[in-house]
């Protein structure tokens, strides 16, 4: 049997609340420490305890870490999902299961490995009875470690990290890992081809989830005020602020340079953040769709009164409560147009955990420079799952506190300033903040019509001129925003446009399209709204542009169509919202389907048709491509960046 090395997916089916996340994270971290590119995704229910939950791990030597729809190794620990789990094993794959689950094995095309999980835990005198279920999960870690070749020392390293070097839990869990591994060694024969072998690709990299990265980035951005209301999948961002702020920002005298307030609802969360932003603090809130809906009225006030504030939206799938624990990119048009009346939004779109960190600090600079709400649209997949990443990079620019006048500046202006006066011609006025002791510094902020001096007015002309200035301000802001990431391919005939967490699936799909179908694509990942000149150039350069996103409507495609109506016929929307992270298979097959109808498609039709059988085969079995990618997607992907 030929070995398949470092190229397969594992899925673990357990009961929610059974403590399997320690076990699954341990597998993930151990593979990462073996130097093999890896990703982990938690596919969990909206439930505290009892419902089925799954965790997928993908190891891939070429650095492709998007979710796959196929799993070669399935571990079944939950009687309620046993039949489904068994059916999901790829032909030729391996099925590990706790042998107390007494369901019939109905497959002959896979390797089957029963594990005496309960017995092994009971036999260990060091495991108290109330810890048996938790520690039982480490038995499958041990069995799997022996069967696919996970380095046991790396498992210890992972546990040491997880338990913060506390010896007692580390030893208890290591005992179960070893018991599982030894039992497997004595009792199981390897009948499947899937193995891991150490590499050196991930050394020097870190693992983080996007919410933690965003929180730490915000702290390095000088976050001073965080108000939030619990909501999945955004809570862990605010909680990470609570975790890291004391370590990073507490003064030696124990006093705080920041405040985190858990509000009574999202109305209050955004209200407090706007109040704090107005009074000169770097203020933020984090939420998801339902919370954002509640924040809408306040967002309009902040736009019109020109208050800096940062809002993180960790998207989950709606409408309404939707699937609260599943990912989505469906808040894009909502946020872009957020608020009644004529409004505009600055939206940042992080596509990696490193960008979550970067936009954490950058969002404050932009909010204070442009004096407006800045939205950071992450998603559940990015925010809550662990991703390999280059280490976080220290902010490349000093803080930009924007146009703020203190006592001295007001004195120098001899009081000759107006809160909404466009002195510099860039649409961005000067502001003062409470606590300024110069008697000429104050002004009255309002959401009602106001003139250049912030005085109430119902004058039509003044209102229109102010709205035109706001538009100018936003047009100018395009140049301040993060430029798109572009990956150009020599001889590319098509373009692909996307944003956020879908990049790994798209990069993998592009590789497959090139190798298996001869289709070469340029790729642009948009990192901010409103669109920059680069986006226009990219769309004009390509006859066929595929816009890939995780929502039903094709929302990025809608925005592009509005902004570039004369290019609308060149745009092909690849859009789906089912709550799952994107897979390369979905991107590739959707693109091929639409591609056939296009101009470039006709050119390559013969070639594409010839490869169709291959497509189907690949969908079910692992890719055995011998072609090496030039760049690991785990590394920096940009070839053109501002």
């Amino acid at each position: 049997m030929n070995k398949v090395v470092n190229d397969f997916s594992i899925i673990v089916g357990t009961k929610n609340g059974s403590g399997s996340s320690t076990a699954n994270n341990t597998i993930l971290r151990a593979i990462f420490k073996m130097g093999i590119p890896v990703s982990g995704k938690n596919l969990f229910p909206s439930n505290i305890q009892g419902l089925p939950t799954w965790y997928t791990i993908r190891a891939n030597k070429d650095g492709f870490t998007a979710r796959r729809e196929t799993n070669e190794i399935v571990i079944a620990m939950n009687p309620d999902s046993f039949i489904r789990d068994l059916a999901s094993v790829a032909p030729g794959g391996a099925f590990f299961y706790a042998d107390d689950l007494k369901s019939p094995i109905t497959r002959a095309d896979i390797a089957v490995y029963p594990m005496p999980v309960k017995q092994l835990v009971r036999d260990d005198p060091n495991v108290p009875s109330d810890f048996r279920e938790l520690v039982g999960n480490m038995i499958y870690v041990g069995v799997l470690a022996h069967m696919i070749g996970i380095d046991v020392e790396m498992i210890r390293t992972a546990l040491d990290f997880h338990f913060k070097s506390k010896q007692k839990p580390i030893e208890m869990n290591m005992g179960a890992v070893k018991a599982g591994a030894e039992w497997a060694k004595a009792n199981l024969d390897k009948k499947d081809p899937y193995v891991l072998e150490a590499m050196d690709v991930t050394h020097g990299m870190i693992m983080s989830d996007g919410n933690t990265a965003g929180a730490i980035g915000s702290i390095f951005g000088g976050a001073q005020f965080v108000s939030w209301y619990p909501i999945t999948p955004a809570s862990s961002l605010a909680e990470a602020m609570n975790d890291y702020l004391p370590m990073l920002r507490k003064r030696d005298d124990g006093k705080n340079t920041y405040a985190v307030v858990q509000a009574e609802d999202e109305l209050a969360a955004i209200g407090m953040a706007i109040g704090a932003g107005w009074s000169g603090l770097r203020a933020m809130t984090s939420t998801s769709g339902p919370g954002l809906s509640l924040m809408t009225e306040f967002a309009g006030l902040a736009y019109y009164a020109e208050v800096p504030v940062v809002l993180w939206d960790i998207q989950r799938i709606g409408p309404s409560t939707g699937l609260p624990t599943r990912t989505s990119q469906a808040d894009l048009t909502f946020v872009n147009f957020m608020g009644h009346g004529d409004t505009q939004s600055i939206v940042l779109l992080p596509g990696t955990v490193n960008e979550c960190f970067e936009f954490g600090w950058k969002s404050f600079d932009l909010a204070e420079r442009i004096q407006t709400p800045v939205y950071v649209l992450s998603d559940l997949d990015m925010g809550m799952n662990q991703w390999m990443s280059q280490p976080f990079k220290y902010p490349s620019q000093p803080m930009d506190r924007g146009k703020v006048l203190w006592e001295k500046e007001i004195e120098e202006l001899k009081g000759n300033w107006g809160r909404y006066l466009d002195k510099d011609g860039d649409g961005i006025p000067y502001r003062t903040v409470p606590g300024n002791k110069n008697p000429m510094s104050s002004y009255f902020t309002r959401g009602t019509g106001h003139d250049e001096n912030a005085r109430y007015t119902e004058d039509s002309g003044v209102f229109r001129e102010n709205m035109e200035r706001l538009k100018r301000k936003f047009d100018g802001a395009r140049n301040l925003l993060p430029a798109p990431e572009v990956r150009l391919t020599k001889g590319a005939t098509i373009g692909i446009l996307a944003y956020g967490s879908t990049e790994p699936a798209i990069i993998e799909a592009m590789h497959q399209l090139e190798v298996e179908h001869g289709i070469k694509a340029d790729f642009m990942r948009i990192r901010a709204l409103p669109f920059s000149q680069e986006v226009k150039d990219f769309i004009e350069k390509h006859d066929e542009i595929f816009v890939v996103e995780l929502n039903r409507e094709g929302q990025l495609n809608q925005l592009l169509t509005i902004e570039f109506p004369d290019r609308a016929v060149h745009l092909r929307s690849i859009a789906m919202g089912d709550g799952m992270p994107a897979s390369a298979r979905w991107v590739r097959e959707s693109l091929l389907e639409k591609f056939d109808a296009g101009k470039a498609g006709r050119r390559n039709k013969a070639k594409s048709a010839a490869n169709k059988t291959k497509v189907k085969k690949e969908a079910a079995a692992p890719k055995k491509s011998s072609v090496k990618t030039k760049k690991s997607p785990a590394k920096k992907t940009s070839s053109r960046k501002k």
Partner: protein, 351 residues
Amino acid sequence: MTQPLPMTGAAANVNLAGLGKNDYKGNPTTLCQGCGHNSISNQIIAAMYEMSVLPENVIKFSGIGCSSKSPTYFMNRSFGFNSLHGRMPSIATGALFGDATLKGIGVSGDGDTASIGMGQFKHIMRRNVDMVYIIENNGVYGLTKGQFSATAEKGLALKKQGTNPYMPVDICMEAVITNATFVARSFAGNPKQVKELLKAAFAHKGIAVLDIISPCVTFNNQSNAYHSYAWGKDHEEPLHDITYIAPRSEIMLEEEMMEGEAREVAMHDGSVIILKNLDHDYDPTNRAEAIRILSEAQQNDWITTGLIYINKDKPTLEETYNLVDAPLNRLSESDLRPAPAMLEKVNALMF
């Protein structure tokens, strides 16, 4: 901006801050002539002038409604934020973190506080934010032309609205129940008491809820309406005669006042509130007693006024957060951005 600087060298009519009464003025009111709210704005001006408060040390807040317009009619030299309907508390909570040395004066109405804003009102009291929270309470929506508010009494009949079928919200009762640390009620027709209570509220550390019955002369001033001038004049039941004595002033009790006839409440800033007994002794530090007299007032349709409840010993929200001494909005990059070495430490933790 357009505010005049204080006149230098003008010795007459200036307070201890060196400011004249004009330094506390706002724009001319656009509310109706005779509106109770205008009288309250004037008392805020007088109280702040007499207390020698620097306008730059105050932030004005409001929500939406007639009452919420009034912060433009006093203290032009103070920053102000006229926010959203019912959302003044959250704006104030966040804004006061910017510089915890500043004091908030919020003006809301009965719709803004007891209808759309009830949730935020309850939570700002829970948090004990350091501000004066005034409710200009007239039982009616003025700007939208005369609908019932949540404090309108059951059975109130208004033009176009018919008869109010619901029980009213008692703002002071809500405040006492929610552990607000200063709760008072007054009547715009009793300006002296309004002013003294405003001073006491301003001297209080923490949330000071001041429910002022402030008649709407256009939509709800018929003599049988609870929130009318006529009803207030006939049914106001002051708990005591209240006098605020500023710090540094020598406390001179009236000679004829016998021991047991007055109560002194010493405030943290050195000021003293003298509560002269009227019918009987009332102890505003007794929460159960506060609830009892509010129930009694409800049963008898009285407007019981005065300092209903005070608890001086609870930390304010800002105090609970143990903030650095300098205002947070004056901190610079070196205070706010951790050093590069700290990022290396963080990266080492990311696994």
